[in-house]
């Protein structure tokens, strides 16, 4: 990766964009995951990225914080190009982001409180531990888990882990919060708790949110804007109504959760399941 410092100059996005992706292309070996994607994430809004599994949603969101660097294209944060910064320079920029990972990515060896203290300890000079304890309490209260400070991640349910991870993601009061599949693996009620939390954070902290999901209930509930990715390209971009009424068949198929006609044909041609099963009597 070449770091062209000369290009690291402020860029006027001209609109309300806090993060701007310009012509991003990303390949993993021969696989083209993002194909010339351009996107402006608007300040204070919740942008939801939808699309089928493997279409490049997580790769896209990791480019927003430069956890992955593009093969070509540029990433800007508040008009400053960041994809060509060194890791040390990026670390300063990343303190303005919060990232909720799909599995939570909590540190197993640390308690809930220690997990939330982790970013605070890395970036703030702690002089009064009582203040930090109060802060942890406030962050946990925000996600409805005050009192869980001394629990370890292994003792928490999937939903609780995601809420703790969210408390950790907002520990440094970030301007942007990125959510990677926040409701995956949760029951509908727990999913709705997470949706409400996303809305609450936007309402109370005025953060810019980017949510990657394939849960349409969640997408319709939290989104100011929905973007659909398909085969590494943006195929739809607009508010919930725009997506609902989008003419593209891929979009309609995805939002209604319909199986592809080709897949259906393969399933019908593949014979009866009972013919493919080995029963205990077959081994006798």
């Amino acid at each position: 990766m070449k770091h062209n410092k000369k290009e690291n100059v402020p860029r006027a996005s001209g609109d309300n964009g806090v993060i701007v992706l310009e012509n991003i292309t990303k390949r993993f070996g021969p696989n083209l995951v993002l194909d010339n994607v351009s996107l402006v994430i608007e300040k204070g809004k919740t942008t939801v990225v939808i699309g089928p599994s493997g279409c490049g949603k997580t790769v896209l969101v990791k480019h927003l914080i430069v956890l992955l660097r593009p093969n070509s294209g540029e990433v800007y944060f508040k008009d400053r190009r960041i994809d060509n910064l060194s890791e040390n320079e990026l670390n300063k920029v990343r303190t303005q982001y919060g990232f909720l990972f799909q599995g939570g990515a909590l540190f197993d060896s640390l308690s809930v409180a220690e997990n939330i203290i982790f970013p605070i300890r890395q970036h703030w000079e702690i002089t009064d531990w009582r203040e930090v304890e109060e802060l942890v309490k406030a962050k946990l209260a925000m996600v409805g888990l005050d009192g869980y400070q001394n629990q370890f991640p292994a003792n928490l349910s999937g939903g609780q882990r995601k809420r703790v991870a969210l408390a950790r993601a907002i520990a440094l009061n970030p301007e942007v919060v990125l959510y990677d599949e926040p409701t995956t693996g949760l029951d509908p009620i727990r999913s709705d708790v997470i949706n409400e939390l996303i809305l609450k954070l936007q309402r109370e902290l005025a953060v810019t949110s980017v949510v990657v999901t394939h849960d349409m209930t969640s997408a319709y509930k939290v989104a100011d804007r929905i973007i659909m990715l398909h085969k590494g390209r943006i195929v739809a971009d607009g508010d919930a109504d725009h997506i609902r009424n989008h003419p593209h068949p891929i979009v309609q198929q995805f939002i209604h959760g319909q199986v592809d006609a080709d897949d259906l044909a393969v399933l019908r041609m593949s014979g009866k399941i009972s013919q493919a099963q080995f029963l205990p009597r077959d081994f006798e």
Partner: protein
């Protein structure tokens, strides 16, 4: 076929380059955290996990090495009437070669495997990405304390292994075979020089860094899934083992040259 060989060669060079870069970043991070008192707690924790918990296994290894050497060599020396010189043979072998190498191999298995498995699991569960996303350098937070702990404690563990090897050899030679204790120690003291002990212990610094660097690198670059972590652990142990043997050979050649040049002059001084 030529294409396949070429591709493998390029892949190998790429891997070496990535590993070299990782080691370089780790070395810089290690120097930096030495001057950061906030990081001492991390180093201390790793010293406990890597060092203190490895003491029993290294001591047991050392003891059996010493005892086995005594059993294997007593017959030949006794046949020549040189059994009282058994101590020299056992102690020099333990202190200079077998103690450091076998202690390091034990550490590569116990500590290296654990480091790779821990960091590999953190990698596949996105915990390393989480550290990066919070604006922290994962090499500085995860790798540097482990490298420093291995660097500082491997020589000490080798000393424990050596001591137990000497005790094990003494136990079999003197208690079991009935060699005169005073003669055993007198010959040992005359045969084992401070240089031998120094070289044996100094090897620990190189072995410790190699084990930690290889194991952390394999953890950081492991593929997804249980199979990926398992494969990374195996590769880490094999690479560490080969590296220990190569380093041992390299150090032996260099030390021999230094010894021949300078140590023989000590009588003149």
């Amino acid at each position: 076929m030529i294409g396949s060989v070429g591709a493998k060669t390029i892949g190998g060079i790429n891997n070496m380059g990535r590993f070299g870069r990782f080691v370089w970043q780790s070395a810089i991070a290690s120097f930096r955290i030495c001057t950061s008192p906030r990081a001492y707690a991390l180093i201390w924790t790793q010293m406990h996990i890597i060092g203190v918990r490895s003491v029993p296994v290294v001591m047991i290894t050392g003891a059996f090495v010493g005892m086995t050497l005594a059993v294997q060599t007593y017959g030949q020396l006794a046949a020549m009437g040189l059994e009282e010189r058994l101590g020299v043979l056992i102690n020099i072998a333990v202190v200079k070669e077998l103690g450091p190498v076998l202690a390091a191999v034990m550490l590569a298995g116990r500590v290296g495997g654990a480091l790779t498995a821990e960091l590999g699991t953190m990698n596949v569960t996105e915990q390393i990405d989480a550290i990066r996303s919070m604006g922290t350098n994962p090499i500085r937070y995860l790798v540097a304390p482990r490298i420093l702990a291995c660097l500082l404690l491997t020589p000490i563990l080798i000393i424990y292994g050596d001591l137990m090897g000497i005790v094990g050899g003494y136990f079999v030679s003197v208690i079991q075979f009935g060699i005169n204790s005073q003669a055993y120690w007198t010959h040992s003291a005359s045969g084992v020089e401070l240089w031998d002990v120094t070289i044996g212990v100094a090897k620990g610094f190189f072995f410790g860094v190699a084990i930690a660097a290889i194991s952390c690198y394999k953890g950081f670059t492991c593929k997804e899934g249980a199979q990926g972590v398992g494969r990374a652990c195996t590769e880490a142990f094999v690479a560490s083992f080969i590296c220990i043997l190569m380093l041992n050979f390299g150090i032996a050649v260099v030390c021999k040259a230094i010894y021949s040049t300078f140590w023989s002059l000590k009588t003149l001084v």
